[in-house]
């Protein structure tokens, strides 16, 4: 599964994307897995309410299932316009 990071999430984790082998069933389970890896992940995901997630380029929720999903992206609230 491709996992992408944008804006300060990318900066905190230190890379824009990575391949992740996971058996997580939901976004939240994936987040917990990543947080347990290293301090920089724990820091980036410390406050989930400050983050947004997209599954296969569609905005989604943290309790959404990951089945069939090929690309997960984490980022702060958007600031377009």
């Amino acid at each position: 599964m491709d996992v992408l990071y944008f804006a300060w999430v990318r900066e905190r984790i230190g890379l824009p994307r990575e391949k992740v082998e996971t058996s997580a069933n939901t976004v939240m389970e994936l987040v917990e897995e990543l947080k347990s890896r290293e301090e920089r992940y724990a820091a980036a995901f410390a406050d989930i309410s400050a983050l947004r997630v997209a599954l296969d380029q569609e905005l989604s929720e943290f309790d959404a299932p990951l089945e069939g999903v090929r690309e997960v992206a984490f980022f702060p609230p958007m600031t377009g316009g």
Binding site: F6, A7, A54, Q57, F75, P77, M78, T79, G80, G81
Partner: protein, 148 residues
């Protein structure tokens, strides 16, 4: 419908002119252009705009399609830049064309409200003193969506 996500500047006059003459049957054309302002705190030298390429075009097309359907628009346009911009640079524009003025105004405001909080762009302000800050989303921007 025209949706462009690009690093290059756009010519707001040429785009407006083309959009206006191309919107057949429309009586009302509204455009909105966003310009990079100085940061509220301190002098900004550069604004960096990051985006999510695989998602951006798709998200903007969805938003524009929604606007066209909901307000029966004759046409809609969205242009949004990414990369490094300076104060005074034009960052994005939307345009809407409809029979009556109310629809064109509402659809343009709807597009702007959605672009602010639903299109995958992130802005970083780099100040004269070398410090850099990601622009925080405003509560008001999220609230603005509730009226639609």
């Amino acid at each position: 419908m025209r949706v462009e996500v690009q690093e290059a500047p756009f010519d707001v006059g040429a785009v407006t002119s083309e959009f206006t003459s191309g919107a057949k049957g429309a009586g009302a054309i509204v455009t909105f252009t966003g310009v990079v302002r100085e940061a509220d705190a301190g002098a900004m030298t550069v604004m960096e705009i990051e985006h999510y390429p695989a998602m951006t075009q798709k998200a903007l097309e969805q938003i524009a399609t929604q606007a066209i359907e909901r307000w029966s628009l004759a046409d809609a346009l969205v242009i949004h830049r990414f990369g490094r911009l300076s104060p005074g640079d034009q960052i994005m524009m939307v345009a809407t064309a409809s029979r009556h003025r109310k629809d064109a105004f509402e659809a343009a405001e709807f597009l702007m409200d959605y672009l602010k909080s639903r299109a995958p762009f992130w802005k970083k302000e780099i100040l004269n003193d070398g410090s850099a800050d990601w622009v925080a989303a405003k509560d008001g921007d999220e609230k603005a969506l509730e009226r639609w």
